[in-house]
């Protein structure tokens, strides 16, 4: 018998005492916290992102380019990699001091030599301060937002949901072309040494969030 057939046979033999039919629990339960108002959801999101020691800058729809320029200047980034589908307006304000690199055939070592990355995002969660990337064209493949040390991430207020179940719902993989997801809650961190939290290990040590509000 193949390993698969044998394991499945064992599994079936192990539960002959159970009678509930498949899916007897019904719809997958949805347990979340209610949002008081959209405004409070946004405030909670900002508060929780800051709590993770990430930076948050709030701008109007026209302020993104300037905010990105200011951020890269502040971190002293002299190079930035951009995903192919990024809104060109976002990098239009960058001066000559910053080398803009398109993601064309870059290897890990090439990425490692670049100071920063700018991405959009898919969904964000207020109760946890989480930003989810689905690595669409405005976010780029996963390595892009991983290897460079500064991640500037643009979140639109309309993308912020209140709690985890709703985010999960919105991120349901598309039949036929599921996307990989990366959930980001603050910069990389470890608590492995005496349970003391240290920000900044392998992932970007700086997470800079630009929140666009209408």
């Amino acid at each position: 018998m193949s390993a698969k057939a044998e394991i499945l046979a064992r599994v079936r033999a192990a539960v002959t005492d159970l009678t509930a039919p498949l899916g007897a629990r019904g719809e997958t339960p949805w347990v979340d916290q209610a949002a008081a108002s959209p405004a409070e959801t946004i405030e909670l999101f900002v508060e929780n992102v800051i709590d993770y020691k990430a930076q948050v800058v709030r701008v109007g729809p026209d302020g993104v380019g300037g905010a990105i320029r200011d951020a890269l200047t502040a971190y002293g980034a002299s190079s930035v990699v951009v995903p192919s589908g990024l809104d060109p307006a976002w990098v239009s304000a960058l001066g000559d001091g910053v080398r803009i690199v398109a993601d064309e055939g870059l290897g890990s070592l090439d990425l490692d030599a670049i100071d920063s990355v700018i991405t959009a995002s898919a969904v964000s969660i207020a109760t946890t301060g989480t930003i989810v990337l689905d690595h669409g064209p405005d976010q780029g493949r996963r390595a892009l937002s991983l290897v460079p040390d500064v991640h500037v991430c643009v979140v639109h207020a309309s993308q912020v949901v209140h709690d985890v179940p709703e985010a999960v719902f919105r991120l349901h993989p598309q039949e036929g072309m599921p996307r990989p997801l990366t959930w980001i809650s603050g910069p990389s961190a470890t608590s492995d040494i005496e349970l003391d939290r240290v920000e900044g290990v392998h992932g970007p040590r700086t997470l800079h969030v630009i929140l666009i509000e209408a």
Binding site: V15, A143, I193
Partner: protein, 497 residues
């Protein structure tokens, strides 16, 4: 609907005790040694104290925590009742997504599959994401035996690997080490296998993490094969989920060409939406954070993004044995969050090594004797390594009634050992005494009399267990009269005033 006659569940084979843990002493003996390790005692008391407080704070933020726990338990119970269906669904969807699924009955088979896959790529080293499943099957040892270096990339696992040590905690495997010990380990070991620790390395956690970053970066950049586990495997969508903090997971899951994930068959979630529950339960219970810094989710191969050669190895290794026990199977709901360890007063004092398995603490005490059976000294003793205080059950996000399972396993140990033991005879005598109130009353009379004879109860040192007990405690004076006698006297005198 026709009523099918129910049959007794039949159990799959037990897990073979891995070479590392063969011959482990009984828990009480290992515990005695651990209790004497002052450095470890201090490290553990500090770390568990910190994490308990953090967990309590973020759990209190969620009003509907109990509903969440129930939803989590229900999802896993749905899985456990229909595991064959969900495993097949998972395989179908993974395959559709471009992954190759392998099945392994036991550790040896799983290791052989992984070793062959790695060899097939021509790689002589792999980077690893922290994974309980690969520790359980001792994959690193199997790879090394074939000349393949396995680099652990989680900071704590790195500390353990460099320290030639064993993990002592599910989530924070180096919880028994403090910062100065870690500094020494890094200084001694890093240079032997790659970029050495900087000369001026201090014991500041920030500096230590920085040293690990620099050391591992080389390995991430050149690795062609990564090995991971998975926190969840979603049957509905064929998605694997890895929850982590440091970004080492993202490095391993993203940069190499080949990714091999070793996943226990109980890690499956029926539906995608179940993640809405589990992604609340797990981070708050494990690290005491609202959300862990990074979670990676992939569904097979994603064109132009990440590994293009994706394998998933589904392992049984004793799990179907656990599944067949109608009471014990709820242990398979476990999501390895480690909340039960952090809250356990026994674990806090003994640390993880005394449990003789990669699964320590309360979950280890119920899981190991079920996965491996109760033939060995350590597995026989584990169900008794608890005061049944219930702190673990209260903390467990999956509502695993650990005390109840411990009691259930105690009965199994006793049933297997038989009752012709000192303890068994004492218990039989006790049961006989309690079997009848009149008999009990006669025996009580004798004991109160004994109380008078023994006077002030400052007993001389007694041998054995009772002696141990009395070595630190005085025992109460026995009363002149039992309650039963008092009541009878009062009744005789006319009852209540």
């Amino acid at each position: 609907m026709t009523a099918e006659p129910l049959t007794e569940p039949t159990a799959g084979p037990l897990q073979a005790t891995s070479p590392t843990f063969v011959g482990m002493p009984k828990f009480p003996y290992a515990a005695r040694t651990a209790l004497g390790n002052t450095q470890q005692r201090r490290n553990l008391a500090h770390a568990t104290g910190v994490i308990r407080a953090k967990r309590a704070k973020v759990v209190a933020e969620i009003d509907r925590w109990e509903e969440l726990r129930q939803a989590g338990a229900d999802a896993k119970d749905e899985l456990l009742g229909h595991m064959a269906a969900y495993l097949e669904q998972l395989e179908t969807n993974l395959t559709k997504g471009g992954a190759t699924v392998h099945w392994a009955r036991d550790a040896a088979e799983a290791n052989r599959i992984v070793v062959d896959l790695v060899k097939g790529t021509g790689a002589t080293e792999v980077v690893k994401v922290k994974s309980m499943a690969t520790q359980e099957i001792e994959l690193n040892e199997a790879l090394e035996a074939e000349g393949i270096n396995a680099w652990e990339t989680d900071l704590a696992e790195l500390i353990v690997q460099f320290g030639h040590d064993r993990p002592s905690h599910i989530l924070v495997p180096a919880i028994h080490r403090n910062r100065s010990e870690i500094r020494e380990i890094f200084r001694k070991e890093m240079g032997l296998v790659g970029r050495p620790a900087p000369d001026d390395l201090t014991d500041e956690p920030k500096r230590l993490a920085e040293a690990a970053r620099l050391h591992l970066r080389e390995k991430f950049m050149r690795a062609t094969v990564a090995i991971s586990g998975a926190n969840f495997a979603v049957a509905e969508t064929g998605s694997l989920v890895v929850v982590e903090s440091e970004g080492n997971g993202r490095m391993c899951l993203t940069l190499p060409d080949t990714l091999i994930s070793v996943v226990g068959i109980e890690k499956v979630l029926p539906t995608w939406q179940d993640l809405g529950t589990f992604m609340q339960l797990l981070p708050r219970s494990s690290t005491g954070e609202r959300m862990n810094p990074y979670t990676s989710i992939w569904s097979g191969v994603h064109e132009g993004d990440g590994p293009q050669n994706v394998h998933v190895v589904l392992i049984d290794n004793g799990r179907t044995h656990v599944l067949a026990d109608p009471v014990g199977r709820e242990a398979l709901r476990c999501i390895r969050c480690s909340a039960c360890l952090n809250t356990c007063p026994v674990y806090e004092r003994t640390g993880g090594h005394a449990y003789g398995s990669v699964y320590p603490g309360p979950i280890g005490a119920i899981l190991n004797p079920q996965l491996r059976g109760t033939a060995s000294d350590v597995d026989k003793s584990l169900p008794f390594a608890s005061t049944l205080c219930g702190a673990c059950f209260e903390a467990c996000p999956m509502r695993i009634d650990i005390p109840k399972l411990l009691v259930h396993l105690r009965a199994k140990v006793v049933d297997a050992k038989g009752r012709n033991t000192v303890e068994g005879r004492a218990m039989a005598a006790g049961a006989w005494a309690f079997g009848d109130a009149k008999r009990l009353a006669r025996l009580q009379k004798a004991s109160t009399l004994g109380g008078k004879i023994l006077g002030n109860r400052q007993l001389p040192a007694l041998p054995g267990a009772i002696g141990q007990w009395l070595s630190i405690r005085d025992i109460p004076e026995l009363p002149a009269q039992t309650f039963r006698q008092w009541w009878a006297d009062r009744e005789r005198k006319g009852g209540a005033s």
